[in-house]
C-alpha cells in the first residue's frame, strides 16, 4: 500500500491536461471552497424545501456530519441566489458588450437538428416544450453562477483536481475528479441541461511490469453517465493524446464531459418514457433491413444499437480555449486527495446543487464523487476497474501466465473428453453387438428396441463430445498463436474492445449547408401546420394527402442528406406492400388457387423432365 505522499506523487506524475472550448466559463475548483459558499437545504416529501444551514455557516466539517432522514427526503446544496434586477442588467450588459472575450468567441457549428431525422426533431420539440412544465434550473441561475464563480476565483485563483488512488485486482487506479461550480450546457451551448455543480472524472489504470515498476496501460474518460468498454483506450492508442506522461482531455463546453479527441460530438439521449416505442421501432427497423437486404441487418452481437427517437445534442469539445495542466495556460494547484476517510465524501449523500425535482433528473445537481443522485454508491467509485470494462482484462505482465493457465485448462479438459469418448465408444460398440445378436428374436423385441434407443442416445453424446474436442483444439491453436505473439513482444490489439466509440461528428457531412440548417429549423413546424390545414380544408382525401406530404418531406430531407435513392426505394416498397395486402384481401381464394395450380404444374414439369432424362440413352 502506498502512503499519502506516494499517492500524491503518483497523481502528479500523470495528472491530465484539460483543454476547454472557447467560451467556457467554469473551470475545476476546490470543492471545499464551494461548500463554504453554499447553503444546505432539505426537501421532505410533501413539504416545501427548508434551509438547514445558511450560506456562510456551512463548512466541509458540518457537511460531513452523519444524518438520518425519512424515505424520499433529499438534501441539497444551493449556491446561487436569484439575481437582483441590477445584477441581471450588469450580466446582460457584460455579455452584450463582450467584456469577456472568451464568452464572445464561441461560435456554434452545424446545428444539431440538421444532423438527425424528423422523429428526433419532433421528440426534441416535445422535450423543449416539456421543459416549461417540469422542474428546471431558473433562467438567471447560470448568470448568477457565473458571477459567483468569478468572485470565488478572485478570492482563490487556483485550479484544483481531486485525486484518489485505488488498488484492485492487479491495477492501481488513479482517479482524477474535477469539480465545476456549474454546468451551463443548455443555456450557453444549446445542450441538454443546466445544473448547479458538476463532478467529472477520468481514470488511469497502472500495472506493475516485470521490474515491479508501475506503468500506465489504460485510460478511461467519463462522459455523460456512460460506462463500459467504449470509455477506455489503451495508453498506446494514438487517440490518447499525451504531453510527456500527461493525457490530454478535451472537455465539452458547458457539460465538461471528457473526450479523447477535439471535435463536436453528437450525443443522442433517449428518454426512458419512450423505451417501449423505441424498442418496437428497432424491431421494425431490423425486420425491414433484413427484408430489404440492407446493410446493418446483421450487426455484430453486443454492438450497442443506434438510438431511435433520441434527442440530439452537440457537445462542443474543440479544445481551442483555455488549457489547464503542466506547461499549459495555467498549472494545477496541489491536488486534494479524496477517499472514504474524507468526511464530506463519505457522509454527504445529498445533491451538490439545486434540487429542481426534474422527473428526467437532468436539471438536478449531481451527488458527490462517491454517490449517485439516489444516494447509492457509484460504480465508478466502488468498482472503477469494472466501470471501464477492465474487470475481464489482466495487466500486461500477467497475460502470459493467464494464457498458459487457460491453455492448460483446455488441454486438461480435452484429455478428459477424449477419455470419455473412448469409454463411451467401448460401451456403444458393446451395445451394437448386443443389438445385432438379438435382432431376429421375437421374444426379445422390447430389449432390442431399448438397445437401439440407447445406441442412438450414446451416439449423439459421443458426437457432442467430439465436437467439443474439435472446438477445444481450435481454441488451443489460437491460444498458442497468442502466446507466441506475447513472447515475441508483438503489438497488442489496441481497439478490439471498442463497439461504438464516440467519435467527433464530421463537419463536411451532407447537410452541413445553410439550406439543411434552415430546413432542419423549420421542417417540423411546416409539417405540423400542413397537417392542420389539411385536416380543416381537405378532409376527404386525408390519408392520401398525409402520405403524400410525409413522402414529400422525407424526399426533401433525403435529398438534403444525400440519401434520396434509399428514401425513394423505401417509400415505393411500403406502398407496394400495402397494395399487395389489398390484392391479397380481394383475391385471397384466387391467389390460393393459382398458387396450388402453379405448384401442381411445377411438380408435373419436374417429374416429366426426370422421366424424360431416365428414358434418354446414355452416350
Amino acid at each position: 500500500m502506498m502512503d499519502t505522499t506516494q499517492q500524491i506523487a503518483l497523481l502528479r506524475r500523470y495528472e491530465p491536461i484539460i483543454r476547454f472550448t472557447r467560451g467556457e466559463e467554469f473551470f475545476p475548483m476546490d470543492a471545499e471552497a464551494y461548500i463554504r459558499a453554499c447553503s444546505l437545504w432539505i426537501k421532505r416529501p410533501g413539504e416545501p424545501p427548508q434551509e438547514l444551514i445558511p450560506a456562510g455557516a456551512l463548512t466541509p466539517e458540518t457537511l460531513a456530519m452523519p444524518y438520518e432522514d425519512e424515505y424520499g427526503t433529499v438534501r441539497f446544496l444551493q449556491f446561487t441566489e436569484p439575481l437582483s434586477a441590477a445584477e441581471m442588467a450588469v450580466q446582460a450588459l457584460r455579455q452584450r458588450h463582450a467584456e469577456d472575450a472568451a464568452l464572445e468567441e464561441f461560435r456554434v457549428g452545424q446545428g444539431r437538428l440538421a444532423r438527425v431525422g424528423y422523429a428526433s426533431r419532433v421528440v426534441d420539440a416535445l422535450f423543449r416544450v416539456a421543459l416549461l412544465a417540469r422542474g428546471r434550473v431558473p433562467g438567471d441561475a447560470a448568470a448568477a453562477a457565473s458571477l459567483g464563480y468569478r468572485t470565488l476565483l478572485l478570492q482563490d485563483p487556483r485550479y484544483v483536481y481531486h485525486g484518489r488512488v485505488y488498488e484492485e485486482r492487479g491495477w492501481v487506479v488513479l482517479q482524477y475528479w474535477f469539480f465545476y461550480l456549474y454546468n451551463n450546457w443548455r443555456t450557453r451551448f444549446s445542450g441538454a441541461n443546466d445544473h448547479e455543480a458538476d463532478w467529472e472524472m477520468i481514470c488511469l489504470y497502472l500495472a506493475r511490469d516485470a521490474d515491479n515498476v508501475l506503468r500506465p496501460e489504460w485510460v478511461a474518460y467519463a462522459s455523460h453517465d456512460y460506462a463500459g468498454d467504449d470509455l477506455r483506450r489503451h495508453w498506446e492508442d494514438p487517440e490518447v493524446q499525451k504531453v510527456d506522461n500527461h493525457p490530454v482531455i478535451y472537455a465539452g463546453a458547458g457539460s465538461h464531459a471528457a473526450y479523447f479527441s477535439p471535435g463536436e460530438y453528437l450525443t443522442k439521449i433517449e428518454l426512458n418514457a419512450l423505451t417501449p416505442v423505441t424498442r418496437t421501432l428497432r424491431r421494425v427497423q431490423r425486420v425491414w433491413k433484413r427484408l430489404m437486404r440492407e446493410t446493418g441487418a446483421d450487426s455484430v452481437p453486443g454492438t450497442p444499437e443506434e438510438p431511435v427517437l433520441a434527442i440530439p445534442f452537440v457537445d462542443y469539445a474543440r479544445g481551442d480555449g483555455f488549457a489547464i495542466g503542466p506547461g499549459q495556460d495555467a498549472p494545477w494547484d496541489e491536488p486534494v486527495r479524496i477517499d472514504e476517510s474524507v468526511g464530506w465524501v463519505r457522509n454527504y449523500r445529498g445533491l451538490w446543487g439545486l434540487y429542481t425535482q426534474d422527473p428526467f433528473a437532468g436539471e438536478d445537481a449531481p451527488a458527490g464523487p462517491m454517490f449517485n443522485r439516489d444516494g447509492t454508491v457509484r460504480r465508478a467509485w466502488y468498482d472503477p476497474v469494472g466501470w471501464a470494462g477492465l474487470d475481464k482484462v489482466p495487466p500486461s505482465s500477467e497475460q502470459l501466465a493467464i494464457v498458459r493457465r487457460q491453455r492448460q485448462e483446455i488441454v486438461d479438459r480435452r484429455t478428459l473428453l477424449r477419455a470419455q469418448v473412448e469409454e463411451k465408444t467401448a460401451l456403444l460398440r458393446g451395445l451394437d453387438i448386443q443389438a445385432t445378436s438379438i435382432r431376429n428374436q421375437p421374444h426379445l423385441r422390447l430389449v432390442h428396441e431399448q438397445t437401439l434407443r440407447e445406441i442412438k442416445a450414446l451416439s449423439n453424446e459421443i458426437a457432442k463430445l467430439q465436437a467439443e474436442i474439435t472446438a477445444a483444439s481450435v481454441v488451443l491453436e489460437n491460444l498458442d498463436r497468442h502466446e507466441d505473439l506475447l513472447l515475441a513482444g508483438g503489438a497488442q490489439p489496441l481497439r478490439v474492445h471498442l463497439r461504438r466509440a464516440h467519435a467527433p461528428a464530421t463537419l463536411n457531412q451532407p447537410g452541413a449547408s445553410g439550406v439543411a440548417e434552415l430546413w432542419a429549423a423549420i421542417s417540423v413546424t411546416v409539417l405540423l401546420v400542413a397537417f392542420v390545414l389539411l385536416f380543416y380544408f381537405n378532409p376527404r382525401f386525408l390519408p392520401a394527402w398525409l402520405v403524400s406530404i410525409l413522402a414529400l418531406f422525407a424526399f426533401i430531407e433525403a435529398g438534403v442528406r444525400g440519401a434520396f435513392t434509399r428514401a425513394v426505394s423505401r417509400f415505393a416498397t411500403a406502398l407496394a406492400i400495402a397494395a399487395t395486402l389489398v390484392l391479397v384481401y380481394e383475391f385471397f381464394w384466387w391467389i390460393v388457387g393459382v398458387t396450388v395450380l402453379t405448384l401442381a404444374l411445377y411438380i408435373l414439369w419436374d417429374n416429366l423432365r426426370e422421366f424424360a432424362r431416365t428414358r434418354r440413352p446414355i452416350r
Binding site: M292, R293, E294, T295, T565, A576, V582
Partner: protein
C-alpha cells in the same frame, strides 16, 4: 479412361452465361414493364374515350353524369401513361435518373390506387378490375426495380452509395 470433358470445358448453363449481359437484361425488363404499363393506361384511356357517344355529348347542354365520369376516368389515366413513357425514355438515356423517376411514378400509381380503393367504395371513378391490374403491374415493377438486378440501373453506386453506408 473415359471421354468426359474436363470441368473447364463443360458449357455453362444458360442462366450463368447470361450474367455478363445482366445489365442489358435489367434494362430490357425495366423498359418492358414501364412500356406495358404505359400501354395499359393509354389503352384503357383510348377505349374509354372511344366508347363515349361524342355526338350525343355535343347535342346536350349538360352531358349525363355517367358520360362525364367516363371522360374524367380517361383524362386521369393519360398523364400516368405519359409519365411512364417519359420514365422509359429516361431509363434508356440516363438510367440512374430514370430509375428514380420510375420509382416515383410507380409510387404515385400505387398511392392514387390505394386512395381510390379506400375512398371510392361505390366505384364511381374506377372500374375495380382495371384498378387491381394497375396496382399489380406497379407492384411487379417496384419489386423488380428494388431487386439487385433492377438496381443495376443505378450504376456503380449500387449497394455502395453513401446513403447505404449511412443507414
Amino acid at each position: 479412361m473415359n471421354d468426359a470433358p474436363a470441368p473447364q470445358h463443360i458449357p455453362l448453363p444458360g442462366f450463368i452465361r447470361r450474367s455478363s449481359h445482366q445489365y442489358r437484361w435489367s434494362m430490357a425488363i425495366t423498359l418492358a414493364l414501364l412500356l406495358i404499363q404505359a400501354a395499359v393506361f393509354w389503352g384503357v384511356a383510348i377505349s374509354l374515350f372511344s366508347s363515349v357517344d361524342w355526338e350525343l355529348v355535343e347535342t346536350l347542354d349538360e352531358p349525363p353524369e355517367i358520360v362525364l365520369r367516363q371522360i374524367i376516368r380517361a383524362i386521369v389515366l393519360v398523364p400516368f401513361g405519359a409519365a411512364l413513357l417519359l420514365c422509359a425514355l429516361f431509363c434508356a438515356l440516363w438510367p440512374r435518373a430514370g430509375w428514380h423517376l420510375a420509382m416515383i411514378a410507380e409510387s404515385l400509381i400505387l398511392l392514387v390506387g390505394l386512395q381510390v380503393y379506400l375512398s371510392d367504395r361505390e366505384q364511381l371513378l374506377t372500374d375495380r378490375h382495371w384498378l387491381y391490374l394497375h396496382m399489380f403491374v406497379a407492384i411487379l415493377a417496384v419489386v423488380f426495380m428494388n431487386s439487385p438486378e433492377g438496381k443495376l440501373l443505378l450504376g456503380q453506386n449500387t449497394g455502395h452509395s453513401r446513403a447505404d453506408r449511412e443507414l
